[in-house]
């Protein structure tokens, strides 16, 4: 209501002419505009404001532009005062203010009790009423006084006994019978009339229905001691208060409901997740999920389907299924069905009534009489691993909230299933690893194959669920498996006897398969004809056959008799068996390699020893001979060699020099070399004549030449004082003599005899040569001239002559190095092929 109504009354009662009325209205509007400019528009829109703004009107009179217009406004305001219109309007304004405040307050609270009490306080204080109380209908549809303010003693006494008293009073009766549709005056309140005690003069009150969306929630009663019957305007305002309160109550209730529902959900989820996560058995987890889902939603059935194969949703847990549907097992979610659709779409599907759907539901659904259903995907991260579905025999059983909660449960289930699966996998893996670790640790330090097999034989049955373990070793040349050892139940002498009685060469289908697959396998007797005796040894119908293969080398096969209980986990059994087979074979193979390595090492040590012995045979240093520079060089291609040189100081002061090369290389050559050296040395000491010395040595060497070995040798005797040399060549490379002027010749190329050890009774020709100062004589073995390069070219005598001529001014030692370097450079990357031995003799300048 605004002052237009009042103005209409004013025009009517004062019989203003239309002109006067228009002028007055214009003045009011002008006034209003001015007021608006002063910033008080909220108050202006109300009739009553005019009265309170009388002082403003006076102010306006001072203004030039308003002065002429103030008079009609003043007349209107004083009429309002005179007729009491202002009071009526004021009440209304107060009521509206109250309503606004109440609405604001109500909007700020979500608490039901607080909302009601706020309303009561606001209504009574703002409307100056003093007393009020509220009844709400509870779930049993009974009136409960929930709040009050300023109750007279008659009503408040005895914990508000009077308010609770039945039968229902007038207002309650009206509300219940649908008569209380808006705020009304209850002129005869039975509670106030019948109450004993001080009613503070209250006799009647206004009753305002509290409603929300047409639902009746309760009654707001207000009254005041000075209160007459409430005017229509008041009742209208109070009605609005009732509606606001109704809405607030409804909202508070909704919020309360939502809160409690969320709490319920949280509790449910917490409990479920605790239960789910405490179980690590996937089967238990899945069953728990369906049972809890059915219980929480009061569903008639629940199903959990998990992805078991390529696009295959297999029902793994159910509740509420009829027995006949469970028989047979392995039931799969039907394409097009609720569960399958949720899986394919990856999102929640909610069916209000499957019976009413075009398909009418699957056979399963119809058989159980299910109508409503919700299916939610069970997903780990973004991967759908299954679907949780709940069914109810009543249509519309599940709300959107339900499907949301079911989604949360499905998420919990996914986590629990994932954990359980992971745990099972981890547990299996740990067990598996433990088994292999035990075997590995136990056989690590064993040094014989027998020890390894016995240890594995004791451990393997333990881990593979068997009682005995037999080993058959592969005999390559015989192409058969040889029974070697059986370990197991020590008391079973019969088993051992039968094993010992097996034919030494095991062949047949079973063993052929070992050769073919080289992986563990299970085999039954009908599958392995010809191996009945092997099955007899173990008294078993089924055998676990584990080939022992290391680095693709077949060592043998291990055969066990796994118990029937192992049938449940054959994959794991074969996995572990495979690991053990490899471990055993590797241990055996390692043992074998270790022996070979030890043997090689022993041999290397012996060769090293032989090398050192050989080395010790050779003179460390060249003899010191006045006027001569002599340097030997010994570079074996291998650790031991057939080459040698020697210096022998003759009793007459001459120097005997030997260079020799034993046929062949390696240890036999080394031994022959040692013998030859000793014989040559002894001979050259015994005979000052080199030809005689050679004859003598040959006689001794040839006498014992069973091995067909021979030795080429060049022997010389040097008279250092004059540079005279006598020499004999027994099949050796002719030494190179380079004169001071760079010319060269070969000693004993023509005049030579066979190598030592080939023929008996031979007279080797002796020759002589004289070395002048500056001349160089190089004795060498064929490792020098026969060194080859990448093109298969030999170093050759010509190249040697050039190299020596080139370096003839070097010291003997340096020349030796120069020759070795030249040979190495010539051979390039070619490994040193043959032993290189040199003796360089230089007659120094005078």
């Amino acid at each position: 209501m605004d002052y237009r109504d009042a103005f209409a009354k004013y025009v009517e009662s004062q019989e203003l002419s239309p002109q006067e009325a228009a002028d007055t209205w214009d003045a009011i509007l002008a006034f209003e505009r001015w007021l608006a400019a002063t910033g008080q528009p909220a108050v202006l829109s109300r009739t009553a404001a005019l009265k309170y703004r009388a002082d403003l009107v006076a102010q306006a009179a001072d203004r030039e532009d308003l002065r002429q217009r103030v008079a009609p406004v003043q007349r209107f305001v004083s009429w309002l005062d005179r007729t009491g219109q202002a009071e009526v309007e004021e009440r209304t304004v107060q009521a509206l203010d109250a309503l606004k405040e109440i609405t604001t307050a109500l909007n700020q609270t979500a608490d039901l009790q607080e909302a009601i009490e706020t309303t009561l306080r606001a209504v009574t204080s703002l409307l100056g009423l003093g007393t009020g109380w509220v009844f709400l209908l509870n779930e049993a549809d009974a009136f409960i006084p929930v709040a009050d303010i300023g109750l007279p003693p008659a009503l408040s006494a005895d914990d508000r006994r009077e308010l609770r008293r039945e039968p229902e009073c007038e207002c309650q009766w009206q509300l219940r019978t649908g008569r209380l549709k808006r705020a009304v005056n209850i002129v005869q309140c039975s509670r106030l009339e019948e109450a004993n005690g001080d009613t503070a003069g209250l006799r009647y009150h206004a009753s305002i229905p509290i409603r929300a969306r047409k639902r009746t929630l309760g009654i707001l009663n207000v009254t005041g001691s000075s209160q007459e019957v409430f005017s229509g305007a008041d009742l209208q305002v109070l009605g609005a208060v009732g509606d606001a309160l109704g809405m607030a109550i409804e909202r508070a209730r909704l919020i309360d409901y939502a809160r409690s529902r969320r709490l319920r959900e949280q509790e449910t989820l917490l409990r479920l997740s605790r239960e789910l996560l405490s179980s690590l058995d996937p089967r238990h987890v899945t069953q728990l999920v369906v049972e809890e889902a059915a219980r929480i939603f009061d569903a008639d059935a629940a199903t959990l389907a998990l992805l078991t194969g390529e696009d295959m949703m297999t029902i793994v847990a159910t509740v509420g299924w009829q027995q006949e549907w469970l028989e047979g097992g392995g039931y799969r979610a039907l394409p097009g069905g609720l569960t399958h659709r949720a899986y394919v779409g990856g999102e929640t599907i909610i069916e209000a009534d499957m019976l009413a759907s075009p398909s009418g539901g699957s056979d399963l659904v119809r058989a159980h009489g299910w109508r409503a259903g919700v299916a939610v995907p069970v997903a780990i991260r973004d991967t759908v691993i299954g679907v949780l579905t709940v069914y109810a025999t009543t249509a519309d059983h599940f709300s959107d909230d339900d499907s949301r909660l079911l989604g949360l449960i499905a998420a919990q289930a996914a986590l629990a299933i994932h954990n359980a699966r992971e745990y099972e996998e981890k547990a299996q893996e740990a067990w598996h690893r433990n088994a292999l670790l035990q075997v590995a640790e136990n056989i690590r330090d064993l040094s014989t194959m027998q020890d390894i097999l016995e240890t594995v034989g004791h451990l393997a049955p333990m881990f593979l669920g068997a009682t005995s373990c037999g080993f058959f070793l592969w005999n390559g040349p015989a192409a058969a498996f040889v029974p070697h050892l059986i370990v197991g139940d020590a008391d079973d002498a019969q088993c051992r006897e039968r094993f010992a009685a097996l034919p030494a060469a095991q062949t047949g289908v079973l063993f052929d398969r070992v050769l073919a697959v080289r992986q563990p396998f299970l085999v039954t007797q009908p599958e392995a004809p010809g191996s009945a005796d092997v099955f007899d040894v173990f008294s078993a119908k089924r055998l676990l056959v584990v080939p022992l293969v290391a680095r693709s080398l077949l060592v043998g096969v291990m055969i066990l008799d796994p118990s029937s209980e192992t049938e449940r986990y054959t994959t794991r059994l074969l996995d572990i068996a495979s690991g053990m087979g490899t471990q055993t074979a590797v241990a055996i193979e390692n043992e074998r390699l270790r022996r070979a390595e030890m043997e090689a090492e022993r041999l290397a040590q012996e060769l090293e020893l032989a090398h050192n012995i050989q080395r010790s045979f050779l003179p460390d240093q060249a003899p010191t001979l006045a006027g001569w520079d002599i340097a030997p060089r010994w570079e074996p291609a291998r650790i031991v060699t057939g080459d040698f040189y020697d210096f022998v100081m003759q009793p007459d002061g001459g120097l005997g020099v030997v260079i020799a090369d034993v046929s062949d290389k390696g240890a036999p050559a080394a031994i022959f070399m040692a013998v030859s050296r000793s014989l040559l040395r002894a001979s050259s000491l015994a005979y000052s004549d080199v030809a005689e010395a050679i004859d003598h040595a040959n006689a001794l060497i040839a006498a014992d030449a069973e091995s067909s070995m021979f030795v080429t040798a060049f022997l010389l005797n040097l008279d250092g004082r004059v540079g005279h040399i006598d020499f004999v060549n027994a099949g050796h490379n002719p030494p190179l003599l380079v004169r001071a002027d760079g010319t060269h010749e070969w000693l004993g190329r023509e005049a030579h005899g066979p190598a030592l050890g080939i023929v008996l009774d031979y007279r080797w020709p002796q020759r002589s040569v004289d070395l002048a100062p500056g001349d160089t004589l190089v004795l060498y073995t064929d490792g020098v001239t026969e060194a080859i390069n990448g093109d298969d070219e030999a170093f050759g005598e010509e190249r040697l002559a050039q190299v020596v001529a080139q370096g003839r001014d070097l010291s003997a030692e340096s020349l030796a190095s120069h020759i070795v370097d030249a040979v190495a450079e010539f051979a390039g990357g070619h490994p040193q092929f043959d032993d290189i031995t040199l003796v360089v003799l230089k007659r120094l300048g005078e």
Binding site: D661, V662, F710, H752, I758, V759, D834
Partner: protein, 111 residues
């Protein structure tokens, strides 16, 4: 190393080729040992394809010769020896103990 073996009526013709050094000598030894073990004691080694012989190779020939010499009329003879190899044979005195023929026909016919 390629070693050809031709068993003829009375004589076995063994034909090594390339270098007979300490690496290939055992192969030649194996072939010769097998022939001797098989009762062949008239052997001609065709040296026409041999480019080099080391002391190890010489030892094999010497040992084989000793092997066949155990039989009456048994012998190992060489044929078609190349100049470089002949030098070696001469140096170590093998030309004194081995019968050497210019070609295999002569060598085989010599038995």
């Amino acid at each position: 190393m390629d070693i050809s073996v031709r068993e003829m009526k009375r004589v076995v013709l063994v034909g090594p080729s390339g270098r007979i050094d300490h690496q290939s000598a055992p192969e030649l030894q194996k072939v010769l040992d097998e022939q001797i073990a098989g009762g062949h004691f008239k052997i001609v080694v065709d040296m026409s394809n041999v480019t080099y012989i080391s002391s190890a190779g010489l030892r094999v020939l010497l040992a084989a010769r000793k092997g066949v010499k155990r039989w009456n009329r048994g012998d190992l003879r060489l044929a078609g020896v190349q100049p470089f190899v002949r030098e070696t044979l001469e140096l170590v005195g093998f030309t004194r103990i081995f019968e050497i023929y210019d070609d295999t026909v002569d060598a085989v016919g010599s038995f």
